[in-house]
Amino acid sequence: MLDTIGAPALEDLYAHLPESVRFAGSLNIPPGRSEYEIIDYFRARGSENIHARANFLGAGVYHHYRPVLVDTVVSRGEFLTSYTPYQAEISQGTLTAIFEFQTMICQLTGMDVANASMYDGSTAVPEAAMMAMRITGRSGIAVARTVHPEYREVLSTYTRHQGISVSEFEYDVQSGQVDLESLDQAMNENTAAVIIQSPNFFGMVENTKLIAEIVHARGALLVFVFSEAVSLGLLEPPRDADIVAGELQSFAIAPSYGGPFAGVLAAKEQYVRQIPGRLVGETKDTNGNRAFCLTLATREQHIRREKATSNICTNQALIALMATVFMAVYGKQGLRELAEQNLAKSHYLGERLWRRFNGPYFNEFVAVTGPRSVEEINGRLQGLQIVGGLPLDRFYPELGNSVLLCCTEMSRRADMDAVAEAFGA
């Protein structure tokens, strides 16, 4: 091959580079290792993390069962190693699956149109906010303090640089839901969107319909956020929202220390041209057969460049595919039964502990400590190979002696009893 090129040696292929830009040394990286050594290295690292027999952490990342079929499907080379489906004729597999994904997200959320996924729930939130601003022409955002704290941090990072004001509104200390009075005061005539999450970070289910009325009366849009997708199997979807931003990690996406996940961005029909990210549409080929392709690409960065709806290029295709397979496996009945089991498990434990809030909750709730401190409780649980809940004062300094606990279909009765016992309940 070098002969064909006419170069004497490999180094000559970059001999034209000026001296000043060439790195002539050796990188300080150990020599290449064999497959076995690599597997061994990661196995060792894996064992240095506690992988407990039970885990009561939720807070945006949920421990749900992953059907075996999910990895079987996504491990197929044609899905795993294919590129973005720009060439529709040879990507109908990916495109069809995304079309099904978009459909199911609409069915679940009650929205008219959904994109092919965002990076994750946390980045879908600022994208939804910016979308609301483009639509309304206003530049203020009001966000509930009960929206996931890290989602709010990301919102802040994105909005700080674009002259966008973000105000937060409080939660009701009895119910743990949005304080409607505080919401009202956080809004003004410049508010483009109000952002709420349900179930919220405390696990409480919000009065979405009522909040939507308040928000719409002021001419703003309602952005509904979810981080626990399983809840949509049981809870009335946010049909009164204008934009939905959410996280699909619960749908067969392993917690994997925080990523990669897949975000949802869905909206009402009339906002379709303001939606960021990829969209797959149905069409026909020249023989009149149904086919799918990426569409409305003129919203996107590769065409609009600085006027794009977002700088986003990717969608989390493979991760969204995991969620799609999950949704297909569980189906209409299964998602319902799964959600009902989550409800039963969390209420079993919830009834045995002192709860801080009296509102309705799905699979998470805030427990108040009794005789023992949070550290003591989690310490005891760790001794039993159980990871306890999240101490809330990390994010809400006013909520000391409070732990956010999550129970899913994976939580065993015996382990929940152990948690109750550790609380000294």
Partner: protein, 484 residues
């Protein structure tokens, strides 16, 4: 003559909603070991949904057949060469998939205390160290979820550093050959985009830049090698020009596959850059994601990096949230950990010498293809190619579609925009001479077809599962979900 492929029946497949049957299930949950709870009683009847209308009801067999059939309609790296320019479609090593599924890595929760996540933190620390080594930078953040996300992080860092100096400035210069994410990122970060035309060699116009840089310019976003696959020979000089005016130099690292091991951007004036782990570092494209876009930076940016930062103490690794100057988070949690694991596995498999060899092979393959194709296609710019080459042909779209009949995925069509009818080809190092020869033969054969039978090329492809897809109808009357 088409040598790589021949036709083969491909099965039809309906959508999940069309094959649903009420009562069909593909799951089985164990019975509850606690009492059931009435949803209406616990939540209030108005909060409980009716059934999820039209949601699929299919069996396990239906699911596996459905998705298996769908998969057979895709082209993939596992099937053959993907010559997409600047995408670096190299082989995705399967050992990476195996290690990412290690139990103790897959199931750990990001909020487990640091003491219970030392293995994960050690992985991140090692990856940071290696990426710093490769780029010649001082620090790196692994938080961004994709290349474009890394770009945004980078420009926000530029802004933070300049704001700390008292003046964020207004403009960022972007070459007209840049990837679309560059200008859209600049806009999102609150800066004004100033486009600069490439010179007649397709490279940065140093004189023009010298005239454009003033104290109102915050930075330039450069891709190196540029989107023509050509190394920006004046890059060190450009960096000097910008630094002289207190401006910064951001490098889009999409083409790092031409540099790893033979050139370190931090050595010649690049202030910060992002990497695409799903390009240079072999993590799978997965049909369009997930990716990961770490940002490597010089020392001056370190205090502003997204929080939390990894810190080493006597008791082990921990997350440091005490970062008052940080630009904040760009996403929840720490990064696409599963993707980071795969990238580290790739780096471990290669080692330092292996990385250099991979880069050399990438250059070898690209230049070999260029040599074979130059007699038949017009090279866009006559400068030495690094890991990719760009040809120019008015029929680029048609040729790309005809290439599909020959068994290959098309190259990148009509990008970069500065080339008329661009054909952007990047083979990567994982292609064998046999595959490259087959590819070159195919393109040479198509060139002949363009002369002798242009209509044949214009109406291609013929052998795909669908005939040419009507993208105009899809955009005029968007149908974005199944309605039944």
């Amino acid at each position: 003559m088409i040598r790589k492929v021949r036709s083969h029946p491909s099965q039809n497949e309906a959508l999940l909603f069309e094959m649903s049957s009420p009562g069909k299930v593909g799951y089985q949950l164990p019975p509850l070991d606690v009492p059931g709870v009435d949803p209406a009683g616990a939540l209030g009847a108005e909060r409980v949904r009716a059934e999820i209308e039209n949601f699929p009801e299919v069996s396990e067999v239906d699911v596996i057949r459905h998705f298996t059939r769908l998969s057979t309609w895709n082209y993939a790296i596992d099937l053959g060469l993907y010559p997409l320019g600047s995408c670096t479609m190299k082989y995705n090593p399967r050992v990476n998939e195996a290690v990412a599924r290690t139990d103790g890595l897959m199931w750990i929760h990001p909020y487990q205390s640091d003491a219970l996540a030392q293995g994960a933190l050690a992985i991140l620390a090692e990856l940071e160290r290696v990426l710093i080594e490769i780029t010649g930078m001082d620090a790196v953040t692994l938080q961004p979820a994709a290349g474009a996300h890394g770009e945004l992080t980078g420009i926000l860092l530029v802004r933070a550093v300049l704001e700390a100096q008292g003046n964020m400035r207004r403009k960022v210069i972007v070459p007209d050959s840049a990837h679309g994410t560059n200008p859209s990122t600049v806009h999102t970060a609150g800066y004004e985009v100033v486009n600069v035309a490439s010179n007649d060699r397709g490279m940065l116009d140093v004189d023009a830049l010298e005239r454009m840089v003033d104290e109102d310019v915050a930075a330039i976003m450069i891709t190196n090698p540029n989107t023509l696959g050509v190394f920006e020979e004046n890059i060190a000089r450009v960096a000097e020009i910008f630094h002289a005016k207190g401006a910064l130099v951001y490098m889009d690292g999409a083409n790092m596959n031409a540099l790893a091991g033979i050139s370190r951007p931090g050595d010649y004036g690049i202030d910060l850059m992002h990497l695409n782990l799903h390009k240079t570092f072999s993590t799978p494209h997965g049909g369009g994601g997930p990716g990961s876009g770490p940002v490597a930076v010089k020392k001056q940016f370190e205090p502003f990096l997204p929080l939390p930062r990894l810190r080493r103490a006597s008791s082990g690794w921990s997350w440091d949230y005490d970062r008052p100057k940080s630009i904040g988070r760009v996403r929840a949690f720490y990064g696409n950990f599963g993707v980071l694991v795969r990238a580290l596995a790739y780096l471990m498999a290669h080692g330092g010498d292996g990385l250099r060899r991979a880069t050399q092979d990438a250059l070898l393959n690209a230049n070999y293809l260029r040599k074979l194709l130059e007699p038949h296609y017009k090279i866009a710019y006559n400068a030495p190619s690094m890991h990719e080459c760009v040809f120019s042909n008015p029929s680029t779209s048609a040729i790309a579609k005809r290439l599909i009949d020959y068994g290959f995925h098309p190259y990148t069509v009509s990008f970069p925009l500065i080339v008329h009818g661009a054909m952007m080809i990047e083979p990567t190092e994982t292609e064998s001479k046999q595959e490259l020869d087959l590819f070159a033969d195919a393109l040479i054969s198509i060139a002949k077809e363009c002369d002798e039978n242009p209509d044949l090329v214009l109406r291609a492809p013929y052998s795909t599962r669908t005939a040419k897809v009507d993208e105009v109808a899809a955009a005029r009357k968007p149908i974005l979900k199944w309605k039944g």
